[in-house]
């Protein structure tokens, strides 16, 4: 083998190596060959690579691949088709919208977006203000209602204080009767004004009324008659205060009994608290 053959073989080897290298760099072969002979050789080796897949039996892709391809092609415009493509030029020239329309439309869209965004932000701010004011108003209303309740309570307490401190007031303590059918820790105090009409009753630690039953207040006169003083609204075992301007004449005792729900026309249930020990304190 002479030098010319050696050089030719060396060149061929380098061509093959550069060709295989170019495959791994994802570039098309053909840019590395110098001279017509080398170019032709490189081209032959390139085509040899192109023949390799013919060794494999062809595999038909599913029909949807082609239909998807055609759909995608309709969506995509070729990116580097010649600028002077007559079809494209014709299409552009017959286009309904001029080229400047898109940027202007985009600018208008951005401006409108900004405007509506600003308006939205303002509306949000106003809505926040309204909600804050409504909250304050609700709070004020609540405070107003509480104030009214406090005023009512204060008036009642003043009335009660006036009654219990009035001259000639009588006090009667209510206790469970000895050998009472129902045990209780409840205690009560009845204040009766000197006119023997106005009265104030306070009861503490009375147990919540059993389901289907009611506590009922009775004024007992000297002849033993029990006059209905009303059903006591005790549900939660807290203390109870009742004030009234009316008391039956000749009342000598007070009785609280456990009656059927809603009360009875006369005492029928067990006595819970009873008081007949009247004491004048002032």
């Amino acid at each position: 083998m002479n030098n010319r053959d050696d050089n030719s073989e060396w060149t061929e080897d380098r061509l093959i190596e550069s060709l295989l290298d170019s495959l791994n760099q994802s570039v098309m072969p053909g840019s590395t060959a110098d001279g017509a002979e080398s170019g032709a050789m490189l081209r032959e080796y390139t085509e040899l690579l192109g023949l390799f897949p013919y060794e494999i039996a062809p595999v038909a892709p599913s029909d949807r691949v082609k239909s998807q391809l055609l759909t995608a092609m309709r969506r995509e415009q070729p990116v580097d088709r010649a600028a002077d493509d007559s079809a494209a030029v014709a299409a552009r020239s017959t286009s309904r919208w001029p080229r400047w329309a898109l940027p202007i439309a985009a600018t208008v869209a951005i401006a409108l977006l900004g405007f509506f965004g600003l308006q939205f932000a303002r509306l949000e701010e106003q809505r926040g203000t309204i909600e804050r004011l409504a909250g304050q108003l609700r709070e004020t209303n609540i405070q107003g209602a509480q104030l009214a309740q406090y005023q009512e309570d204060l008036a009642r307490m003043q009335e009660q204080l006036k009654l219990v401190t009035s001259k000639g007031v009588e006090v009667c303590t209510l206790r469970p009767q000895i050998e009472a059918a129902v045990e209780t820790d409840a205690r009560g105090t009845l204040f009766v004004a000197s006119d023997r009409q106005r009265w104030y009753l306070r009861i503490d630690d009375l147990e919540p009324c059993p389901q289907g039953r009611s506590y009922q207040l009775w004024f007992v006169t000297a002849d033993g008659t029990a006059v209905d003083g009303g059903v006591l609204d005790i549900e939660h075992g807290v203390h109870l205060e009742i004030t009234s301007d009316r008391m039956p004449d000749g009342t000598v005792a007070v009785n609280i009994t456990l009656e059927p729900a809603g009360g009875s026309s006369e005492p029928s249930g067990p006595s819970i608290l009873y008081g007949d020990d009247v004491m004048r304190i002032l």
């Binding site: 085509e47 040899l48 060794e55 494999i56 062809p58 595999v59 892709p61 391809l69 092609m73």
Partner: protein, 202 residues
């Protein structure tokens, strides 16, 4: 009224009469039907190649679609001086398949085993039915079979596995110099043996 025989033939018939390079030019001119025609001619072979690389038909079909979209978008980049259209398509889909293979980080040691599987044989009207393609495949199979196993191995790892010669050396444990020698011998032998088939593409 024009005479009946003056009407142009249907576009699909016209495209079928075009050779590959003319089809690419038609694509450059914006004829989507030309892509469809090119697809009909080569989709079977290209899908088989991609499936051989990826070992997954669904992936291969995706790559096939991407390949022809690239053809549609970049047909003007085709240079007939560098390769035939079919080789251009082969190199595009091979490159895309290798890229996908790398992105999947499929371990190369699975390639050899999976490659032993007989590829699915599907009918492809434009592929199997084409006598020229059948003859080309028979010739390739013959000549590949003539190669010594060690030369065939390095070629397949390079072409279907996307491996550099250094990677092949590392993968097989064969010295790099030996890998290069085997690759060069195989390529030169095939070039001589397939001169006629190469000439058909030029």
């Amino acid at each position: 009224m024009e005479p009946a025989d003056a009407s142009p033939p249907p576009a699909s018939n016209t495209l079928k009469s075009l050779d590959d390079k003319e089809l690419v030019q038609a694509i450059v001119d914006g004829q989507g039907d030309a892509v469809a025609e090119l697809y009909d001619r080569y989709s079977g072979m290209l899908t088989a190649l991609s499936q051989r690389i990826l070992h997954d038909l669904a992936d291969a079909e995706e790559v096939l679609q991407e390949t022809f979209l690239q053809v549609w978008n970049q047909a003007s980049r085709y240079d007939p001086k560098r390769s035939s259209v079919s080789t251009w398509l082969v190199l595009i889909i091979r490159s895309r398949s290798i890229d996908r293979l790398r992105s999947r980080q499929v371990k190369l040691r699975t390639v050899t085993a999976a490659r032993q599987e007989k590829p699915h044989s599907h009918t492809s009207p434009e592929g199997v039915g084409n006598v020229l393609l059948q003859e080309r495949r028979r010739r390739l199979q013959e000549e590949m079979a003539e190669l010594p196993q060690e030369q065939r191995q390095v070629l397949e790892l390079a072409f279907y596995g996307g491996m550099t010669q250094s990677e092949i050396a590392g993968r097989t444990g064969i010295p790099l110099g030996t890998v290069k020698t085997r690759t060069l011998l195989a390529m030169k032998k095939l070039r001589k043996a397939l001169r006629q088939e190469i000439g058909e593409l030029l």
